[in-house]
Subunit: 359 residues, 2 copies
C-alpha cells in the first residue's frame, strides 16, 4: 500500500477514562445500526438487519436522473442506470464489516461511531465487475478514486465521501445495483454502489457517482486521515485495508431487556455462529465456555470466497454464571483475547464475550 | 382506560444528573435504531429505515409451522399463514412511534432505550381486520390480550411480550402480514403482527402467536409496569395510549460527521417535514427559525387517517448560527417547548431543535 504524505483535518478525540458515552456518540448510534446478533442465523442478512454506517446524510437520489461518470486515465464514459443494468451481471455473496466494529469496548474509548460487536452483515450483491467498466488500465494508473453523493464535513474538512483503491486490488470489485435480489435500499447506496469483497466497509463507496483513474496515490481525507491505524494522535499510521478474522455467536437462551444478560437452561445447548476474514479463509473457530480458561474447536460449515462460514459446538451447560467466547483463525492470525489499542478504534477484533446465567 | 391494580417488577432506573450514556443503553441503541431524519422525505418509510424497537430477541419463526391461536371468550380458532392470507385483506398507511421517543433528552435521564428524535416511521400494512377474526364479542369481554413469540426478562419478570387492549379500541386494528407490499421483515414481526393505528408502538405486538379475549383488565408487565406515565417511581401512574402530536423536519444543508451540526448556504431554503398525532388530526405546524422567539405557520400537505402529513416552509436563511424548531398542534394540544418529565421517559413530544450554521 502507498502511504499518503498529505494529511488533512484535526485529530480525532479520545474519551476521558471514566467518561460515559456522549450525546454525539449516541446521536450516531441512533442513526446507524448494527446487526442484532440473533440475525447471524441467516445466511443472507435481510437488508434492514445488515449493519449500516452513513457518514453524512443518506442522499435522496432520483434513479432516473442518476449518472455514473468514469474518467481520468481511461476513456471517459457516462452511464445511466439502464446502461449499467444492461451489462453482463455477476453476483457475489460478501460479508461486510465496519472498520470501527468494537470501538466502544476500547479503554480509553476513541470518540466516533460507538460500535460494540454488531457492525457486520452478509448480502448477495448483483452488479457489474468494475474492471469490465474500466477496460484496460494504462501503465501509469496507480489508484482509482470512487466518489459518493454523500456530502458533509469531518474534522473541519468539507467533502464528498471519497475513497481511493490501488489498481492491484480491483479484481473482485463490483458496481452493485441489487442487494439480496432487490434494488438497493436508500441506506445501502441506491441506486448503485461499490462492493469491495474482503475489505472493511469504508472501501465500498455508496451512492456512487464518479470513478476516476489517477496516476498518483489518492490523498483524500478518508484514506489519509480517517481510516488509519495509529497509536499516536499525530502519527500518519497505517491504512485500514482487509478484514481481520472474527467469529461471533448467536447469544443462546433469552435476554434481560436492559442488561442483555442471557438466561440459558441447563443441558445440551447447540452454540451457533459465523466466522469470516478478508485476507485468508477461516480455517478454525475455537470456543470457550469458561471465560477463556479452556478452548474447544468448533465444527465449521462450508467455506465461501467472500462470505462468512457457519460454525457449531454442542455445549453441556451446567448451572451457574459463566462467559462464552469465540475466536476465529485465518492465515497465521488468530483473534486476540486482550485488545490492542489504537487512537481511532480501527480493526478491533477482540474475541466476543457473552455473559450467561445457566439455571 | 382501566387502571390495573396489580403491579410487577422492580422500578426502572434514573441516571445521575451528570451520568453519561451507559454501556447498557448503548447496547440497546446498537441493536434498535431510529429513522434517520432525512428519510422523512419518503411518504412510506423503507423497511430498513423505519424505527425498530425489539424488547428481547428477534424470534426465528418458521412461517410454515407458525400458527395464530385465538381463544378466551370467543370461539377458538387456529390459523396458519395461508388461512390468514386467504381472508379478505385491507391496507392501512400508519405512522408508528415509540412511546420512549425523546427519552435521552430528559434531565435526569430515565435509563432505557435511549432515543433522541428518530423513533418513528410510516408504512403501508396489509392484513386482516382484527374484528373480522374475532367475530362478535360477548358482553363480558373487557380486554383482548396479544402475545408475541419474543421472550425475555425485564426488571426480574420473565415473560412473553404481551399487551392488553380494551374492547373499545379495536376498530381499526389489523393483523398484518405485509409491510410496504412485501412479507414482513424479521425485525418487524414476521410472519404476522398487530398494527394498532394511532397508538404508540408498544401496542402493535410483533411475532403474534395468540389473541385471547378476557373478562377483566389485563395486568401483565407491559401494561401495568412498563408503559406507564408517572412522576414518582413507586406510583402506578397512567397508561401510555395514543400518540401525542409531533412535527419533525428534514435537517437542511449537510452535517458534520461527529456533531451532526448542520451547515446551510444563505438564501431561500425550503424546510420540509412531517407531523402526526394519534388522537386527532394535525391541524397546524409552526416553525421557528430563531430558537423559539418567533413562530410562523407552515403549509400543510394532505391529511391522512393514521399517517403523518407533510409540511413546508420557505426560510430566508441569513449568515450566522441559529436553532430551527417545529411543533405540531392537534385537537387542543400543542407540542411543548419545555419538556415535562416522567420517571420512564414516556410520551415525550418536546419540539425538535436543529442547530444550524448559515454561511
Amino acid at each position: 500500500m502507498t502511504t499518503p504524505t498529505v494529511r488533512q483535518g484535526e485529530a480525532s478525540r479520545i474519551a476521558d477514562p471514566d467518561e460515559g458515552i456522549s450525546l454525539d456518540e449516541l446521536r450516531l448510534a441512533a442513526r446507524n445500526h448494527g446487526m442484532p446478533l440473533e440475525a447471524l442465523r441467516y445466511d443472507l442478512t435481510p437488508a434492514g438487519l445488515h449493519y449500516v454506517l452513513v457518514h453524512y446524510d443518506i442522499p435522496y437520489v432520483d434513479p432516473v436522473t442518476w449518472r455514473l461518470t468514469i474518467d481520468g486515465l481511461v476513456s471517459p464514459l457516462v452511464l445511466d442506470l439502464a446502461d449499467l443494468r444492461g451489462r453482463p451481471r455477476v453476483e457475489r455473496t460478501v460479508t461486510l464489516e465496519c472498520a470501527g466494529n468494537g470501538r466502544a469496548r476500547l479503554h480509553p474509548r476513541p470518540v466516533s461511531q460507538p460500535w460494540l460487536d454488531e457492525a457486520v452483515g452478509t448480502a448477495r450483491w448483483t452488479g457489474v465487475p468494475l474492471l469490465d467498466l474500466l477496460g484496460e488500465l494504462p501503465e501509469d494508473a496507480v489508484d482509482v478514486v470512487f466518489t459518493g453523493l454523500d456530502h458533509g464535513s469531518d474534522r473541519g474538512v468539507e467533502q464528498d465521501y471519497q475513497r481511493g483503491l490501488g489498481v492491484a486490488d480491483l479484481d473482485d470489485v463490483l458496481v452493485a445495483y441489487e442487494m439480496n435480489g432487490q434494488p438497493l435500499p436508500p441506506q445501502h447506496g441506491a441506486p448503485a454502489r461499490l462492493v469491495v469483497p474482503g475489505w472493511y466497509g469504508m472501501a465500498s463507496v455508496k451512492w456512487l457517482s464518479r470513478i476516476t483513474v489517477i496516476a498518483e496515490p489518492f490523498t483524500g481525507f478518508q484514506n489519509a486521515t480517517a481510516y488509519r491505524i495509529k497509536t499516536e494522535l499525530d502519527s500518519p499510521g497505517e491504512p485500514v485495508t482487509r478484514i481481520k478474522p472474527r467469529a461471533l455467536m448467536v447469544p443462546p437462551g433469552f435476554p434481560d431487556f436492559m442488561t442483555r444478560r442471557r438466561i440459558v437452561e441447563a443441558g445440551p445447548v447447540d452454540l451457533f455462529g459465523r466466522a469470516w476474514c478478508g485476507f485468508a479463509p477461516v480455517t478454525r473457530v475455537d470456543v470457550s465456555v469458561d471465560g477463556g480458561l479452556t478452548w474447544t474447536e468448533a465444527e465449521l460449515g462450508a467455506a465461501a470466497d467472500y462470505a462468512w462460514r457457519s460454525w457449531t459446538l454442542r455445549w453441556d451447560a451446567k448451572p451457574g454464571d459463566t462467559v462464552l467466547m469465540a475466536r476465529a483463525s485465518a492465515g497465521n492470525d488468530t483473534q486476540p483475547v486482550e485488545q490492542p489499542w489504537n487512537t481511532q478504534g480501527m480493526t478491533n477484533n477482540m474475541a466476543q464475550r457473552v455473559p450467561v446465567t445457566v439455571r
